[in-house]
Symmetry: C2
Subunit: 294 residues, 2 copies
């Protein structure tokens, strides 16, 4: 477990330094843009997507330095989606990670543009990265990331979420939403990591399966934590209510059923790692992500 | 001139068909997203950026079919920027090209996400395009487009515009704004066209010079037209006022000075075309863009 913590810390520190290098720009004419981008990217977070990309890359024989621009791109895409999600016309959240959200700190227009600029910069960073990875693989990895973060992936999930706000939805639609909104970027990071290292189709698919299951488990655990938190806050028996009357996984399966399914999904995720020789870190990461507070 | 009109029409029709192919998706769970994207991309416009890309590509020996995904990407980037520009937190425009703007037709959140999805799809389209263009050149062209459309290009220009709303600005800052907000995407399209065809550095730089000068001329002419329109509307002598008290090129040089500079810039743009063997179409395009109503 000590090795796990050290490697996790190493990855995070590499990513944060590189993000700082990419984003720390000075231009008095548009300083507010860079400040807003930096503010949100620097606001913390577990850097799970970059970590997944770097580790899948490493266990497939890739070079961490070459994969780093892609890892940073994943974090920029994740951050832009949070900035736009927080805007008044979306979730209207004033706070994010214990700090005022981007539009509260910099105004709506600047937050909108900082989000746009981060999405754009994510692609710029991948496309202009100098490394010994061949161009074919760079193109393929960036295309996969683009696909998972776009209309057929994460953005599609945001739309489904919006369309169904306050409505009762079917379990099937809920799972589609989780797959698109949460799992898509994890799948992007994991498969891109394998692709950049030249991993074969079997490994790409295994990484994809791992990330999809971890994403679902992760989201179900979020639902459980929300529900437990809310219930204890309101003095209600646990499992009797859902946050803001929102349909969640707990609505369909109750707390205990949801717990069992999250554990099953985590086990299935770990099983998908059999395609790789060195699965120690990712197994521990799954544990770290999916057994918090359960 | 007949040949010019025919080729222009051919390019536009190719681009519009391909955009339709890319965007005409059916998915009942998120249909509103595709509808909003289609609505704005299909709302018309002169398709100048795709046309520039395709023509620069052609005169450097490129194949129009292979360059088409990049041409469509340029139009998607341009359209996303208009959708976000029209949002209430930005310019708050209810109308665009004679139709309700995207957020008026589909709501703010959907317009925001349709813009995000178009930017994302622009990169997806470039990165996953199947063609005989080698991966190195595709990467380089997409990176150049990313650079011109991002924080150092178009988005930077939008921020400078916002920061200085209602303020008196220097001529230097006005020109920076025009270079970033208007010329950047024209430069992206023109240089990417050359790059995709394998054109050398001299040609890339000539295309860049052409597009920068055309972009500035274009923006100055817009200023003149706004000013003339406003003045005649208000019964004031032409040249005595600027739209919404906004500092424009006319504020510094008057109508006649602005006209002279727009003509000079157009002439300089056309001179940059000497680097290319076949400059007929682009010369006529410059004329078409820069002598309207002057």
């Amino acid at each position: 477990m000590v090795d796990f913590e050290i490697r996790l810390q190493e990855y995070c520190s590499l990513v944060e330094k590189e993000l700082y290098n990419i984003l720390n720009r000075k231009d008095s004419k548009k300083q507010v843009l860079f400040d807003a981008m930096n503010y949100s990217v620097g606001a913390g977070g577990k850097r799970i997507r970059p970590v997944l990309l770097l580790e899948f890359n490493r266990i497939c024989g890739g070079d961490v330095r070459s994969a780093l621009p892609f890892a940073c791109a994943m974090e920029m895409i994740h951050t832009y989606s949070l900035i736009h999600d927080d805007l008044p016309c979306m979730d209207d959240d004033d706070m994010r990670r214990g700090k005022p959200s981007c539009h509260k700190a910099f105004g709506e227009a600047n937050a909108l543009l900082a989000g746009d600029a981060l999405l754009n910069l994510a692609f710029e960073t991948m496309l202009s990265s100098e490394s010994n990875i061949n161009s074919e693989l760079k193109l393929k990895a960036a295309a996969v990331i683009g696909n998972f973060s776009g209309a057929e992936g994460m953005i599609g999930g945001q739309v489904i979420d919006l369309q169904n706000e306050g409505k009762e939805i079917s379990e099937e639609l809920l799972l589609t939403l989780y797959r698109d909104k949460t799992a898509a970027l994890l799948r992007a990071a994991s498969t891109a990591g394998v692709i950049l290292a030249g991993g074969d189709q079997t490994k790409i698919e295994a990484a994809d399966r791992f990330a999809e299951k971890i994403g679902l488990a992760f989201q179900i655990i979020d639902d459980i934590l929300d529900c437990v938190g809310d219930a204890s806050l309101l003095g209600k028996p646990i499992g009797s209510d859902e946050k803001n009357n929102k349909t969640t996984y707990v609505s369909f399966h109750g707390i205990e059923g949801a717990k069992a399914d999250a554990l099953r999904l985590t086990t299935e995720a770990v099983a998908a790692l059999d395609a790789f020789e060195d699965k120690t870190f990712l197994t521990q990461l799954s544990d770290y992500l999916c057994t918090r507070k359960m």
